[in-house]
């Protein structure tokens, strides 16, 4: 017996949304979309050079369009604003309005239940599986066919996350990848070669011991932060580097109870516990007073309180703005066989099922990720950086054709050799990005993994016990959510 519940649920959601979590973008998310956090508003100019592919403006798009999970009026993000301006030039009869917020599940659910649900959503590629499984997103076959977009220009790993059972449900926005970032001077001071062999876990453990200063509540400097505490993507990276996976490729089988996952957890736990207890380590790391402002200045590099950690490439822009004089050694994350590897994440653009304006939605999403749109955004950012006298480290999109133009013709870091080397390392890593499989129970699975990691790190359970219990719980969640 199926029932439709919309009207009453809409009232319930309206009430509960007011009590929901903060719908504002997190600092990290904001930095991910515009890591430079520019001080001046966008000019709106987009004198983009033409590209051979990704041509837009070919659809007969007009009318109103509601875009959820994106900001225009309330953001200084020039990359976001430039692409919207570009789209407006391509489709002058299209009138998009924006939620002026990042994607937030409760808000999106409320919007879906309203009389005028969103036409387009910008959503994390890691979370899209839940909405695809529920039939809330439209397949893009028709849109791609009508717009004539060449999908081969988009990065394969990103497209893989947006594809379910052979059907494409979204187009990739940013393409974030992880690399090792090490404070060169800190490493040299402690007698550690900045070109650490990141494939050798024994070498990493030894370097960690050598780099850290103080212990427990007297910790003064973190050696190597594996970033696994509270971070699903980075934990997956260690597992992949160790030859394992958290989920099967189809996202339907939990692989938490495998030796590769266990070994990765035990190793990263060891890196943290070399500093004292996990609590002491995290207290120090999360203290702005002791460890600086991660997104500002002085940060951990300025204070010399953290030597090395893996991080998404967009942090280079944060470092360029706040610690331009700090010398960083940026290296690809490596498997234990010495091959570069990285997760990739970012957002995707999708059309909401039941959109009143599917033509407009198609025009909007294809235009926002078109090569010319990215190049226009990069030019705006570049001009802004030149005005500020700061290095322009590029814009990392899911569109490889755009990236070729941006990094081949626009990015010139000859005056900033540190950042030049860093960008090259990122570009190398990008070619080896894997897609974390999407599961019908994306958020629940992520939470179960984080809980297991937490339990192991805090000693509430051994890594083996935590992962065994999590594996069963995760499988139950996936089975329950699978269509």
């Amino acid at each position: 017996m199926n029932r439709r519940f919309s009207p009453v649920l809409a009232a319930l959601l309206f009430l509960l949304a007011a009590c929901g979590p903060n719908a504002e973008q997190s600092v990290e998310e904001s930095a991910a979309s515009d890591p430079s956090t520019p001080a001046t508003p966008a000019t709106g100019e987009s004198a983009a050079p033409s590209s051979s592919d990704g041509e837009t403006g070919t659809l007969d798009a007009s009318g109103d369009l509601f875009v959820y999970g994106f900001s225009y009026d309330s953001t200084d993000d020039v990359v976001a604003r430039s692409r919207v301006d570009y789209t407006a030039e391509q489709y002058p009869d299209l009138s998009p309005t924006f939620s002026e917020s990042g994607f937030e599940a409760t808000g999106f659910l409320t919007a879906l239940q309203s009389d005028d649900p969103p036409d387009v959503v910008r959503i994390s590629r890691n979370d899209i599986g839940t909405y695809v499984a529920s039939g809330r997103l439209q397949p893009l076959d028709d849109c791609i066919g009508r717009s004539g977009v060449d999908t081969s220009i988009y990065r394969e790993a990103a497209m893989q996350q947006l594809t379910s059972e052979g059907t494409l449900y979204g187009l990739p926005d940013f393409f974030d990848t992880a690399v090792w970032m090490a404070a060169t001077a800190e490493l040299e001071e402690d007698g550690v070669d900045p070109e650490i062999d990141w494939s050798d876990w024994d070498a990493i453990a030894a370097a960690n011991e050598q780099l850290l200063t103080g212990q427990g509540s007297d910790l003064e400097e973190i050696g190597i932060d594996p970033k696994v505490a509270g971070d699903y993507s980075f934990f997956s990276l260690w597992v992949y580097a160790n030859g394992g996976q958290l989920l099967s490729d189809n996202g339907l089988e939990s692989l938490l109870d495998t030796p590769e996952v266990l070994e990765a957890l035990e190793f990263t736990k060891g890196l943290i516990e070399a500093h004292g207890t996990t609590s002491e380590f995290l207290d120090f790391r999360n203290s702005v007073e002791l460890n600086g402002d991660f997104f500002g200045s002085p940060n951990q590099f300025d204070l010399g309180t953290e030597a090395a950690f893996p991080m998404q490439q967009w942090y280079l822009n944060v470092a360029a703005e706040n610690s331009a004089d700090t010398e960083l050694t940026v290296s690809p994350f490596l498997t234990r066989d010495g091959e570069p590897i990285t997760f990739q994440d970012g957002q995707g653009w999708a059309i909401v099922e039941g959109s009143d304006n599917p033509e407009g939605a198609c025009a909007f999403i294809t235009s926002m990720v078109a090569t010319d749109a990215w190049v226009a955004a990069a030019e705006t950012r570049q001009a802004q950086r030149e005005d500020e006298g700061l290095p322009f480290t590029g814009v990392y999109s899911g569109n490889s054709e755009a990236d070729e133009i941006i990094f081949g013709e626009m990015v010139d870091l000859s005056e900033f050799p540190t950042f030049d080397a860093a960008v090259q390392a990122v570009l190398e890593a990008q070619e080896n990005a894997y897609a974390i499989p999407t599961s019908p129970a994306s958020e629940e699975f992520r939470q179960i993994v984080l809980d297991a990691v937490d339990q192991a790190l805090t000693g509430a359970a051994s890594p083996e016990e935590a992962l065994q219990a999590a594996d069963q719980e995760a499988q139950d969640a996936i089975d329950s959510a699978a269509p």
Binding site: R3, R4, P21, N22, Y131, G135, S217, D454, L457, A460
Partner: protein, 316 residues
């Protein structure tokens, strides 16, 4: 919920003609509240009861009747027992401490007169006006194990403070401290009750040779027992429904910054919320909500029963 004096059984009296004529007017003037109650409370509660017997998914807007399956799943779900234990631990610790501190502060306020009286009353109530999200964020700084001002303060006594945010053994205690910061509401209620205690009772007690402690235990406490009971009940209910501050601290924008604490900070309503709006298990979340309702109802009934032995209502 408000504490009602035990009303003596009165003989039924027929309404007068005038009273009967007034009924439509009474209903008319009450109608905004009645409509609000029906639309925003009665119907959603009834609907949520129905949902608790379905596997309703708000994304697909489809739900199948599954009987008591959601309730059986709760029995097997380790996170339900974990979140209940966390919630009871917090309640058992917070309610008595909030009462003790509330009485202490109310007594202090009662002793302040003159131009400073208004200032102190405002100052004690001010934290209640601070948005929950701001409180949560503020206490992320205050409770940091290494640089937070709480541990810096205790270190002046040679005590090495714990990791309030990241050590699972201390997380709930840290949350209790945070919530105690906002007990201004309880303080104001108790303060108002203290102001109503007749001065001649203290005078009589002093004549009988009672000291300050004896006056407090034998005059003050009985005379404000109605207010004390009210505060116990509302604080218990609020504790069992704790959400905003903790969600902000451990599941909101700071998620990923701290770890080791999410399980320790998994309170019942947080788990309920996550099921409904993050995992989209609305049927299961509704079942969780109804179990909480029943738990609160049972606890409140027990408290009311016990109150008959301990609470004194003037005029009874």
């Amino acid at each position: 919920m408000t504490a009602q004096p035990v009303v003596q059984r009165r003989r039924f009296r027929r309404w007068t003609t005038y009273e009967r004529q007034m009924i439509p007017w009474v209903l008319l003037f009450l109608s905004p509240w009645i409509v609000g109650l029906i639309v925003f409370t009665v119907i959603p509660m009834g609907w949520s009861l129905w949902l608790s017997f379905t596997d309703y998914d708000p994304l697909t807007d489809v739900g199948n009747f599954i009987g008591v399956e959601n309730y059986l799943t709760m029995v097997r779900d380790p996170r339900v027992s974990l979140s209940l234990l966390n919630t009871f631990y917090f309640t058992i610790l917070y309610v008595p401490l909030s009462m003790a501190l509330g009485i202490f502060l109310a007594t202090m306020l009662n002793g302040v007169g003159g131009r400073w009286a208004g200032f102190f009353r405002t100052a004690f109530y001010l934290p209640n006006l601070t948005p929950a999200v701001a409180v949560g964020t503020l206490f992320l700084l205050i409770l940091n194990g290494q640089s937070g001002i709480l541990n810096q303060f205790v270190s002046t006594f040679g005590i090495n403070g714990p990791s309030w945010l990241n050590d699972p053994a201390w997380v709930k205690n840290g949350i209790v401290i945070m919530m105690l910061w906002s007990i201004g509401g309880s303080v104001i209620i108790l303060f108002a009750a203290l102001r109503n205690v007749p001065a001649e009772l203290y005078e009589a007690a002093r004549i009988d040779g009672a000291g300050r402690w004896q006056q407090f235990m034998n005059v003050t406490v009985p005379m404000i027992s109605g207010a004390l009971f009210f505060v116990v009940v509302i604080n218990t209910i609020a504790s069992l429904q704790l959400f905003s501050e903790v969600y902000t601290m451990f599941y909101g924008t700071q998620q990923g910054m701290s770890s080791g604490s999410e399980r320790a900070a998994l309170f019942y309503v947080i788990y309920l919320f996550r099921n409904a709006f993050e995992f989209f298990e609305m049927g299961y979340a509704s079942a969780l909500a109804w179990v909480l309702f029943v738990v609160i109802l049972i606890i409140t009934v027990i408290q009311i029963r016990l109150s008959r032995r301990f609470v004194y209502y003037e005029g009874e």
